[in-house]
């Protein structure tokens, strides 16, 4: 048993492990988390689709009613203005998605390996820890970012009638985080915060707990219409229905002051 048979390691650069193989590893290890995200986003997408179709048809009804200031048209516009509050509430709910991604996909990604000690297995395979980490982080980051991007496009379509009606602008605080690149970008940031918390804390559950407030911080609306004095939430739909009649208003985006200021300009 003293025969020297060990081959010398080749000096030439090694062919790296193909990404497809690492993608399989990533998928196999994180498919539960990814499936959770898929179910969550899928369920919400179906809801947005169904509600969106209703909103679009309600908006068509509003557009085809002439003259808008007539009593009949006021009745026709009511469903549409009711949908507006629902849509705003839905938006607030959706703001939780990036945080959920950070907590359930990002935080356990590395924390679980460190906690269970399996990093000692994973990092000593031929692949090497850098490529292993790069593959996992980038593949999951791309997946959640693309999913969030697609989702915000869907939300944009869902909300478009209210924008067309100039009830809100995309810069409104409760919308800004949901449309355009912001939602995808924030999801990516939340995922990264979760992953970093996992590395620093090295325990799955504490890392999840720690990444939640950070992941959701920037995605919280800075101000809400409903909480401002003199602008009760219930009063908005009726007012917006009236405002709808005077669509020529140049003020097409609403900051938190707008419900009050519109009343002033209207009278």
């Amino acid at each position: 048993m003293t025969a020297v048979t060990a081959p010398a390691p080749p000096a030439r650069a090694q062919r790296p492990i193909p990404w497809t193989k690492l993608a399989w590893v990533t998928w196999r290890q994180h498919r539960v988390a990814l499936a959770g995200v898929a179910v969550l986003l899928g369920g919400l997408a179906v809801y947005l689709l169904v509600m969106g179709l209703k909103i679009h048809s309600a908006y068509q009804a509003v557009l085809s009613c002439h003259p808008l200031t007539s009593a009949e048209c006021l009745v026709v516009t009511r469903p549409f203005s009711n949908y507006h509050q629902t849509a705003l509430d839905t938006g607030v709910l959706l703001l939780a998605i990036p945080a959920l991604v950070g907590v359930f996909v990002g935080a356990p990604l590395l924390a679980r390996e460190l906690e269970a000690g399996t990093f000692r297995f994973a990092w000593t395979q031929g692949c090497g820890r850098l490529r292993w980490a790069a593959a996992k982080l980038s593949l999951l980051a791309i997946t959640v970012t693309v999913a969030a991007g697609a989702f915000s496009l869907l939300f944009r379509w869902f909300y478009q009638p209210f924008l067309d009606a100039r009830l809100d602008g995309v810069l409104a605080p409760q919308l800004f985080n949901l449309v355009g690149v912001d939602f995808a970008a924030w999801t990516l940031v939340a995922f990264s915060i979760g992953a970093i918390a996992g590395v620093l804390i090295r325990r799955t559950v504490p890392a999840m707990a720690a990444s939640r407030p950070w992941s959701s911080r920037a995605a919280t609306p800075q101000a809400s219409i409903t909480t401002l004095p003199g602008c009760s939430a219930s009063g908005i739909p009726a007012r917006t229905a009236l405002w709808l009649a005077s669509r020529r208003s140049a003020m097409c985006w609403r900051t938190h002051r707008n419900p009050c200021s519109t009343r002033r300009t209207r009278t």
């Binding site: 048993m1 003293t2 390691p9 000096a11 090694q14 590893v25 290890q29 990092w123 031929g126």
Partner: protein
């Protein structure tokens, strides 16, 4: 070729040195037993050898000069960490698939044949396997990578006696089949006595003994004689450990030459591996760092 070579290797955690100034040159083709009490620095040394931990001082190269943890090194070294950590929620088949996808070298047939022999079902979740089966699976995954060097950290610690026996049998079969070099650590010397042919004793973060088992055993003897004359032995031998029982003294000595006559009035008896290790561990000041050590100093300019 040396499978692991270190010079001035040290690792400090906070204010404690887990390993200090370790100079080792482990030649290829051996089954190396790395023994020492808990906290002696065994895991630290092994982790640095496979690139899991970076040294505070010094350097470690593997398989004839590759830096530990480099891609070339990882390709040819398989590591089974303490408690054989595997993904508990994966099936055995998925665990094979995962390991295959993470490595350039992989022998699927071999892995499946071994598991078949061990009667470990492929569709069983890893978490549902017994401790012995998990250790065997970890060994299978390591061996199927066809490594030149297999490093095992306390592979037997959590196994019952039967599982230990089976594990060692599997390991010996793999060694016989592939002729790979093995480094395994343990704090139980008896487990390794039958298979190790190279011994490294670590104690308090220092390398105390390193050498071929046969040569070490040939050089060491226990001399039994009058306690009063025990001190005189030190002039002729390196006394590792002396134990007095009444008027008798049992002195474990190391000869300077291979064959040295027994002094009159003393009776010599050969030592076993366990006895030798225990004697050194009881005397942290004693050290036996033969042959390869001299070569390390000559190799001082190994590229990092």
């Amino acid at each position: 070729m040396n499978v692991i070579e270190t010079s001035g290797l040290g690792k400090r955690y906070g204010r404690t040195w887990a390993l200090k100034d370790a100079a080792l040159a482990i030649p290829a083709g051996y089954v190396v037993a790395l023994v020492g009490p808990n906290g002696a620095g065994k895991t630290t040394l092994l982790h640095m050898s496979v690139g899991l931990t970076s040294p505070t001082t010094g350097q470690v190269t593997v398989l004839g000069g590759a830096p530990a943890g480099s891609p070339a090194a990882l390709d040819h070294i398989a590591f089974v960490a303490q408690d054989a950590p595997l993904y508990q929620n994966l099936s055995v088949a998925d665990m094979l698939h995962l390991t295959r996808n993470l490595n350039r070298r992989w022998d699927q047939q071999r892995a499946e044949a071994r598991l078949n022999e061990l009667r470990i079902p492929l569709n069983r979740k890893v978490g549902k396997l017994s401790g012995g089966q998990q250790a065997q699976l970890a060994l299978t995954l390591a061996v199927a990578r066809r490594p030149a060097l297999l490093v095992l950290d306390e592979p037997l610690a959590s196994l019952d006696p039967l599982a230990r026996h089976d594990f060692m049998a599997s390991l010996m079969a793999a060694v016989a089949e592939d002729g790979l070099s093995v480094v395994l650590s343990s704090h139980v010397i008896a487990d390794l006595e039958r298979m190790a042919d190279y011994l490294i004793v670590l104690s308090h973060g220092q390398v105390q003994v390193a050498g071929e088992v046969e040569a070490l055993l040939a050089k060491h003897r226990t001399l039994t004689g009058p306690a009063a004359a025990a001190d005189e032995l030190a002039e002729r031998f390196a006394v590792v450990h002396a134990r007095r029982a009444g008027t008798q003294a049992h002195v474990l000595v190391r000869s300077h030459q291979a064959v040295e006559p027994v002094p009159s009035g003393w009776e010599a008896s050969p030592v076993g591996l366990e006895e030798l290790v225990l004697a050194y561990l009881r005397e942290p000041g004693a050290g036996a760092l033969p042959g390869p050590m001299a070569r390390v100093t000559q190799h001082a300019g190994i590229p990092a």
